[in-house]
Symmetry: C2
Subunit: 450 residues, 2 copies
Amino acid sequence: MERIKPRTLSGFMELLPAKQAKMEKMMQILRDTYGLYGFAALDTPVIEDAQILLAKGGGETEKQIYRFQKGDSDLAMRFDLTVPLAKYVALHYNDLAFPFRRYQISKVYRGERAQRGRFREFYQADIDIIGDGKLDIMNEAEIPAIIYKVFRGFGLQRFQIRVNNRKILNGFYAMMELAEKSGDIMRSVDKLDKIGAEKVSAILTNDCGLTDEQAAEILKFIAITGSNEEVIAALEGYAGRNETFDLGLSELKAVTANLAAFGVPESNFAVDLTIARGLDYYTGTVYETTLLDHPEIGSVCSGGRYDDLAGYYTEKELPGVGISIGLTRLFYVLDEQGLLNPELPSAPADALVLPMTQEPGAAISLAEQLRAAGIRVQFYAEQKKFKQKMSYADKLGVPYAVLLGEDEIAQGKCSVKDMRSGEQVTVTAEEAAQIIKNGLSSTGPIILEK
Amino acid sequence: MERIKPRTLSGFMELLPAKQAKMEKMMQILRDTYGLYGFAALDTPVIEDAQILLAKGGGETEKQIYRFQKGDSDLAMRFDLTVPLAKYVALHYNDLAFPFRRYQISKVYRGERAQRGRFREFYQADIDIIGDGKLDIMNEAEIPAIIYKVFRGFGLQRFQIRVNNRKILNGFYAMMELAEKSGDIMRSVDKLDKIGAEKVSAILTNDCGLTDEQAAEILKFIAITGSNEEVIAALEGYAGRNETFDLGLSELKAVTANLAAFGVPESNFAVDLTIARGLDYYTGTVYETTLLDHPEIGSVCSGGRYDDLAGYYTEKELPGVGISIGLTRLFYVLDEQGLLNPELPSAPADALVLPMTQEPGAAISLAEQLRAAGIRVQFYAEQKKFKQKMSYADKLGVPYAVLLGEDEIAQGKCSVKDMRSGEQVTVTAEEAAQIIKNGLSSTGPIILEK
């Protein structure tokens, strides 16, 4: 037979089982946490009508999108989960209760230039809350609580949810009579972390045509830092001069006021006036999340408030707030940096049941008994030498092997071997289940901080 | 703004939240059950090199596959999970421990003619056990246990796992000296359920060129039914005349011998000599699963033993056994027939927390307290009239509303309203959590039998 060399396309993540187990765990934490906050799971098609996906158009998207004909149909693969959500809400408007809260953890597709750490197929883990005409500011206030729970669930403590409000920025530039240049200015200010204040100032004066005074005023403004109270106090100094600014400030106050009630410690939260998140889409609170010890990763969870989700499809006004985690990239970077906890059990089973007799019936029953106790059990049926069986258990990384020979069967017992310590005890099936469960409960977080 | 009418492509399932909740539950049961038997989760790309996916070629596949160019690449979307598995095992052979057990619950794509109940994007929920060179028969014996646990997990009792062995069929036709016609014969016999014995006999004599005696002999053979013991006893009557037959019979005996140890009742299992499952691929035990009260649905879980998983990609001999559930179609049919349990809670939250005061802090804390107890809570922030709030809770289908007004706050309590009974009690947060948990624990199965 002529053979074809197997390969996986570049830019497409395909994990070995042990890594996949960690990825599955992260997804389960996301599902559980999103579920805990009352978000409904959604699962829209990977393929949509190309006209619908590209309603907004735009250069990069059109270039990167996977688009093709099938029969007479002009099809495309989704490049994010927001456009399909907009279509979904517009299409099913009459069947949904608003505010509509949904999460979706799904793959999206972008035919980007192949590059290390860049993916063409990747998971996004999104939540959005969509209002019908209106959406209360408390929804924006709740988002940091959800981000906090997710990253705590991953095992992290040293991360920061950074929040700003676009109305504050827009209002500030309006009161400086720079509203028309606000896009350019925000793009420049966005580089502050990378190139420093001096160079940003140069760009503002040379490229954006600002006076030295204006540039200085802007840099002074975005340099406002401190505790939530301190930042808000400083912002109060600008109040009363622009309506949009004042509204943004009152929203920011509402978001920060209830952090403690939402269970978010101040140490995991910061108002950061440098954050803008794109230019048109967001209209209120914006979010970024950084790992304090790994600023080079950039934001691992971003989003914000928008006023018009589905204007391309419906005349209904559908404001919303949402965040997105680029899960595939996050996983890749954590793995590259050695931050995935190697101690986390990643074997497909908690125990490998090894029959040591010709007749497998007793071992099969034992396996079923352990499963009934909630233990993930692989029954090993191959006719191999003992050494090969143990070497399989090792390669699988299974934490416990359970051996059943004539002696054990005669005693109504089984032998449980702890594969890490090598310790072996002969006990009843019930005791075996207890030993294994106790051994498993001492598992750590997915992500290690170091 | 010019608007585009939102639509979802035909042949692509897109569920409303309450239905999606049921689908998610089915997926969770599949993940949990597959996990309990020591299968590793796998997640291969949706897009593969078209040459690799089409290595086997074949008419229907080539016609239905979504295939397209991107840059210089000839790409295609997977049409099943078996070909990507073959690629995966061939590619990662050195990194896997054999037997390699994996499950994958993922979408596959077939551009079939649009038709009611036919899907172009649909989930398959597969498990496979792959051996390196060899694979013990006990792996084939374990499969019915897994099927049994899955469908019991869905809430079903009245289903039957029907099992045959291709070696018995091939051996039987060989001993009748009809080996060369066995393909045609099996295709004809496969119609028995639909067209009856007389018509099958006519096809065998007229189209396949069998004598009346041969046709009668075949119909007599496949008519063998009864308990496992009875069928095996009848098959023993044919033993000793063909090696393949004898091997198949010994395999069938091994599969049936340990059913009780695997916890599969005889009532959910039957040896059925009419089952063949395609022609080339399967070489040993084959499986179908039918709902006893809904034979019109056909098999809801099928599979079998094969000898050569990845011959197109590697010279390694990789025998295996696997089953597949066409989850999207199963879900669609269950829904169509009204078998999805309407009593199953399908709201995105277990409780809706409604602040009845201007200041939301206390209600936010209460919501977090209930979440800490594992309850899925939506905090409702909109400034609406009480009636509108309750109507939202109704539309959402949330089982409990938790109200927090001045009175409750003053007492350190909250009011829990059971949305079904209308009953309302004022209790502490801890008591509220307990009431809600108790109320939720009385939930039923996903599928109702009727």
